[in-house]
């Protein structure tokens, strides 16, 4: 085998493994989402109506565990962060539009995949079709939006520690304490 075909073969097998890992991580993710109850419309709307705090409990615990692990591994040089650049136009306005859709649909892009696996037909027939139309609409309007509202209030790919010009842990530890306090408060107040 020539050096070139060897290289091509190595590249090909390398290109396959993220797909396989994506599927495996997805199966675990979907399993957890379903066991958490968040593939269910009633649980998500319960959160947005502030009567059921399951979604917030899951998200805050995931952020707490994820954050401590990622910043520890970053300290060891095992991982590097992958920060999305942003602006007020992108994240503030886009986030609000997403939120309105989130409440009307009752699923988000991750949980709708889980809802489909759970057998919920409103997710499969209505929601999935809608998301595909909505993302297509955005692709069509992107050239106009890109130089307009999306560029407003740009702040780039910054993290809170960088913004405050402090060491990561100066933010990680207080955020961890804040999340823990919030979770304990939610639990003791019976929510």
């Amino acid at each position: 085998m020539s050096e070139k075909t060897k290289q091509a073969k190595a590249q090909k097998s390398h290109a396959w493994s993220p797909l396989a890992w994506g599927l495996i991580l997805g199966i675990l993710f979907g399993f957890l989402l379903q066991k958490g109850g968040v593939t269910n419309y009633d649980v998500i709307l319960g959160q947005l109506l502030l009567t059921d705090f399951t979604v917030v409990k899951i998200m805050l615990t995931a952020v707490l565990v994820g954050m401590i692990g990622i910043f520890t591994m970053k300290s060891f040089g095992w991982v590097s962060l992958s920060i999305k650049p942003g602006s007020w136009g992108i994240n503030g306005v886009g986030g609000l539009i997403f939120g309105l859709g989130f409440a009307i649909l009752g699923y988000c892009p991750g949980t709708i995949a889980g809802a489909i696996g759970n057998g919920y037909l409103d997710a499969l027939v209505g929601g999935l079709a809608g998301i595909l139309i909505g993302t297509g609409l955005f692709a069509a309007l992107y050239p106009k939006l890109r130089t307009g509202i999306l560029a407003k209030g740009d702040f780039g790919d910054i993290t809170i520690p960088k913004l405050l010009k402090v060491n990561d842990w100066v933010v990680v530890i207080p955020v961890a304490v804040l999340i823990l306090t919030l979770l304990i408060w939610l639990e003791t107040s019976g929510l």
């Binding site: 692990g69 590097s80 942003g86 057998g119 297509g136």
Partner: protein, 173 residues
């Protein structure tokens, strides 16, 4: 193995599990978990099949390539993972109208599907506008302390809480 057949797990166990999944994603794939880009790629791929190759030339599809990537497989995996979990616990059921919706808006599948379609359009449009969703910004971005993700996550819930109250406390109340 009884725990696999339970309908619900504690949200703290589920949350911790997702946190650990985020470690694996960073370690193995070198990227954070995210879901919404996969839908945008699917939309572009379908449009390309219907309308022809020029669809791929849109500037947005230069930004997110129209190919099946690991995140697409992740979303496919979620369908199977949720299906397995629901089958193991007997929580799988074919259902058109969720019970909370039914209590305010009745048992008509057409109405629920139509509203889900409208909500999906806004959600898909907003997810691309915000450059991420409840996974990519709400979990993966916030846990990295990204400014863009904290603003997005707060906006998701502000928009969501307002619209949920309009729907169920004003229109359906």
């Amino acid at each position: 193995m009884d725990f696999l057949a339970q309908v619900r797990w504690s949200p703290y166990v589920v949350g911790a599990g997702i946190g650990i999944l985020s470690w694996l994603s960073f370690l193995i794939i070198k990227k954070p978990l995210g879901c919404s880009t996969a839908f945008a790629k699917t939309s572009g791929i379908i449009e390309k099949k219907i309308r022809g190759r020029h669809v791929a030339l849109k500037p947005y599809y230069d930004k997110i390539k129209l190919e099946i990537d690991w995140q697409w497989m992740l979303v496919l995996g979620i369908v199977f993972g949720a299906l397995i979990s629901a089958l193991l616990s007997g929580d799988f059921r074919l259902q058109w109208v969720p019970s909370l919706w039914l209590s305010s808006f009745g048992n008509t599948p057409v109405l629920r599907v139509f509203v889900a379609l409208l909500g999906g359009i806004l959600l898909g449009f907003g997810a691309r506008w915000a450059d991420g969703c409840t996974s990519g910004h709400g979990i993966s971005g916030t846990l990295q302390l990204a400014v863009s993700s904290w603003i997005s996550a707060i906006a998701f819930f502000v928009g969501g809480i307002i619209m949920a109250h309009i729907l169920f406390r004003i229109i359906g109340g």
